[in-house]
């Protein structure tokens, strides 16, 4: 069976990159004494996959990984073994046992919510957000391996609201289309005609889709 694990990457660890985070998780798994599964091959490593890598500099409130294990065990037993093996800044929030056939979280991923907390909110930003969303098309330049490519952000924005000093963005995140928060913020502020202020961007949720509705990824 496998466990779908929800954990937090706390703000203190936001400068840790994805590969480092993965290594830290693998070591935590090894400390835990859980019946892990290993890859085949010359240099076997623990089977463990993250729903979506988190960029350097970004904390994540509800990150998700999938941990295949040997045999079966209860969710409570699993978390009792893993929790103490995790560093204090990577706490386990919940876990859910699913059969091996269950699709990988990565395959179900559709969108993510991010919150940008601004140090100084530019005046009129609320209005700008509204006008920004009312455009028939939101053209932007997306950086790809083969240079910059024009694209339309509009279909990739599922939600954009400003509350106080925090801009909440729900953006497409899947193989077919991804809009990174940086791309959106650059586009938004160039539309608003103001410099982009410093902000701490946190990924707060990962979403999948069921029957045309977004559902928390771990619940799918």
């Amino acid at each position: 069976m496998k466990m779908i694990v929800v954990f937090e990457k706390s703000p203190r660890l936001r400068h840790i990159g994805h590969l480092d985070l993965m290594r830290a998780m693998q070591r935590a798994m090894r400390r835990s004494g859980l019946p892990l599964r290993y890859s085949q091959g010359f240099n076997p490593h623990i089977l463990l996959s993250f729903a979506a890598p988190l960029s350097v500099g970004m904390p994540g409130q509800r990150e998700i990984m999938e941990v295949p294990i040997e045999g079966t065990m209860t969710e409570a037993a699993f978390s009792a073994m893993l929790s103490p093996a995790l560093p204090p800044d990577l706490p386990l929030l919940s876990c859910r046992a699913v059969p091996d056939e269950h699709p990988a979280p990565m395959a179900l991923l559709a969108a993510a919510t991010y919150e940008a907390r601004f140090q100084d909110v530019p005046s009129g930003l609320g209005d700008a957000v509204e006008r920004y969303l009312n455009q028939p098309e939101i053209p932007a330049l997306r950086k790809t391996k083969s240079g910059e490519k024009p694209c339309d952000l509009k279909p990739m924005i599922y939600g954009l609201t400003l509350t106080g000093d925090t801009l909440r963005m729900t953006l497409a995140l899947c193989e077919a289309a991804t809009c990174k928060p940086d791309l959106l913020l650059d586009s938004l502020f160039s539309f608003a005609g103001t410099a982009r202020p410093r902000a701490l961007i946190t990924r707060t949720a990962l979403w999948g889709q069921e029957g045309g509705c977004f559902k928390p990824l771990e619940a799918l």
Binding site: R12, L13, H15, I16, D20, A24, R27, R30, A85, P87
Partner: protein
């Protein structure tokens, strides 16, 4: 740090390279609530995080101090240049990884002195941490700055900056020092009285209680205490029973990659072989082994607490551990299902048994490193490196047969009595290693042999038989390097060498006197720091600093010192007597070797300390005075 400083730090972290090294929060890092303890100890490693976190001594003392109920130990590392500059610009003090407390908020600041080229970092760290750099400028509220580690055996160059040095093994004296400072502060004693109390602890040297005078020619004329609290001779501390000594069973596991990212088991301390250039061999005498039982227990706990996938055995000469094959077998047994690989560093070529090679291979095949140090048997005899060419060829042949194909050979250039013949010998030896590979049938060897020869520049060190020797000049070294490059223009052979200006500076500082502190201060003022990093090393500024202080580097590095000269470190008793070192130096001049004292005590001086297990092997001629070495 206050909240404003913390907020500024967060902004800095977004601007610097490799910010992850400044965040702390690692698994097993110990973070005690600040107000829950009386004594806060900042363990400072004067180099960057990736090096600091690879260092065993820091882990031992971190564990030891945090094991004390009323003390907390937090780690502080040297920031990289970009971070240091920004901290200064934005007025963010140097801080600890655990509590992000500014350095000047600690009661005790402790530096570990591993290599001379980290010394300017000490000044930089104190200054960034808002602690007066000069000990003389510190007042009642300021932290007490202490230091220990191998370079503390000649503490003189650092005396302007350090309040107290700990000489020798740190485990016991650290307890005493922390308690002594705590008691002193609790009793409201003035700073000087606390320092005087520290001077009363065995193995502690408080430099402000001593005075040095100099002859007109610049040599030391006298050195003595100026205070009755200070002993004339400071004796190094020795932990007698390593199995009973404290050792961490859990260590912080870094998030980012560091130089040695694995668990380390110190299996033994000290070395009996007596290589004459080797300072560690003298400083860490006598040899003490940690019991296999204890090692296996620690290995198990460490694995469980860290989750590391690799473990290495550490000591000056792991091959000498009395039951190494048994230990490796037992470790492998214990780790069989846990997928932990075991690697053996610093093996000496004369005791690599094929059996251990085969066993390491089963676990992990890292590169094979061998250190013949010199190219001819004559010079190896001079330095007492008890290794023959046959040993070396046998060892590499075994290794090639076991599947190794890349071998690193370490040599030293500029050893006393070295001639061109010895350099040519390095070339011949490298060639023979390559030949040994091709002598094996194709199906018995791995593909693609690679022999890497590294030649460092010999630096005469205090407390070695060569402590009186002159170093080759930078020009001499450059000529030798050029010659060696020719001799090593061979198929399948690479050659690496070290920069000679750095080695020259090392020679000056490691055998320096108190006045060298002025040079270090001046160099730092001129902008020197991170000298161990080639991109930051500024030889020109160091030379300016010497000039500004009216001191000549040649006086420290290139001068042969007579036996009757008072040496700046002579007041420190490392157990091995000056007389023994002299006799060894004379034997070197006569190309005579001295046996490994595992096979019989040579009377190095430690025999009267009651700490050396090998003394019981009776000296060959017991009529001789105790100090006289007895040789094969």
């Amino acid at each position: 740090m206050n909240d404003a400083e913390k907020a500024r730090l967060e902004e800095l972290l977004e601007k610097v390279q490799k910010p992850a090294q400044y965040i702390g929060g690692e698994m097993n890092a110990v973070q005690k609530p600040w107000d829950s303890v009386k004594t806060h100890f900042a363990f400072c490693f004067p180099d960057t995080y990736e090096i600091a976190m690879s260092h065993l001594g820091m882990k031992i003392l971190y564990h030891l101090i945090n094991g004390k109920e009323d003390a907390a130990c937090e780690r502080v590392c040297m920031p990289c240049a970009d971070m240091a500059d920004l901290m200064r610009k934005e007025n963010v003090p140097l801080f600890s990884l655990e509590s992000r407390a500014a350095l000047n908020h600690f009661e005790i600041i402790g530096f570990t002195l591993q290599y001379e080229m980290s010394f300017t970092n000490i000044l930089e760290m104190l200054d960034l941490g808002r602690v007066p750099v000069l000990a003389a400028d510190r007042t009642e509220g300021d932290p007490i700055v202490v230091a220990g580690g191998p370079c503390a055996f000649n503490p003189e160059p650092l005396t302007p900056f350090i309040d107290a040095f700990m000489i020798g093994d740190g485990e016991d004296v650290m307890h005493e020092l922390v308690d002594c400072i705590r008691d002193g502060r609790e009793a409201g004693k003035p700073r000087l009285d606390i320092l005087r109390a520290l001077a009363g602890l065995e193995g502690v040297y408080v430099p402000c209680l001593y005075e040095a005078t100099y002859h007109e020619d610049g040599t030391l004329a006298s050195f003595s205490p100026t205070d009755p609290a200070a002993p004339a001779v400071v004796k190094k501390r020795v932990v007698k029973d390593l199995s009973a000594a404290i050792y961490p069973d859990s260590i912080p596991v870094p998030y980012t990659e560091i130089v040695h990212d694995r668990m380390v088991l110190e299996i033994m301390r000290g070395c009996t072989r007596g290589c004459r250039f080797c300072q560690a061999g003298v400083l860490y005498r006598p040899v003490r082994e940690r019991s296999m039982e204890r090692l296996l227990e620690l290995a198990d706990k460490l694995q469980k607490s860290t989750g590391y996938e690799e473990m290495s055995l550490s000591s000056l000469s792991s091959g000498d551990y009395s039951c190494l094959p048994e230990l490796i077998r037992a470790l492998m047994d214990q780790y069989k299902d846990k997928r932990v690989s075991v690697s053996l560093p610093s093996m000496r070529i004369d005791n690599i048994v094929k059996q251990s090679l085969e066993e390491t291979q089963k676990v992990k095949k890292s590169g094979l490193t061998l250190a013949p140090e010199a190219g001819t048997q004559r010079l190896r005899d001079v330095i007492n490196k008890g290794v023959t060419e046959n040993d070396l060829i046998r060892a590499v042949t075994d290794a090639f047969e076991c599947g190794w194909s890349s071998v690193k050979l370490y040599f030293m250039m500029g050893l006393p009595t070295e001639t061109d013949e010895d350099l040519q010998g390095i070339g011949r030896l490298a060639k023979k290693v390559v030949d040994a590979y091709y002598a094996l049938p194709k199906e018995k060897r791995a593909k693609g042999v690679r022999v890497t020869c590294s030649a460092s520049v010999f630096v005469p060190k205090p407390f070695t038989p060569f402590q009186w020797a002159p170093q080759d000049t930078i020009e001499q070294v450059r000529e030798k390097q050029a010659a060696l490059r020719q001799y090593l223009k061979l198929k399948c052979v690479n050659f690496n060498w070290h920069e000679s200006p750095l080695s020259m500076l090392e020679a000056c500082i490691c055998r320096g006197d108190r006045r060298m502190g002025r040079v270090i201060y001046e160099a730092w003022k001129l902008g020197c720091r991170l000298d161990g990093w080639s991109e930051h090393f500024r030889f020109d500024l160091w030379m300016k600093a010497f000039e500004a202080c009216g001191l000549d580097p040649a006086f420290y590095a290139y001068r042969e010192r007579p036996y009757d000269e008072l040496l700046p470190w002579q007041f420190i008793d490392a157990g091995v007597s000056q007389r023994y070192l002299m006799l060894e130096n004379e034997r070197a001049k006569a190309d005579k070797t001295t046996r490994d004292c595992r096979h019989g005590c040579n009377g190095c001086g430690l025999q009267s300390w009651g700490v050396c297990d090998f003394v019981e092997h009776p000296p060959l001629k017991d009529k001789e005075p105790a100090q006289a070495p007895i040789f094969d």
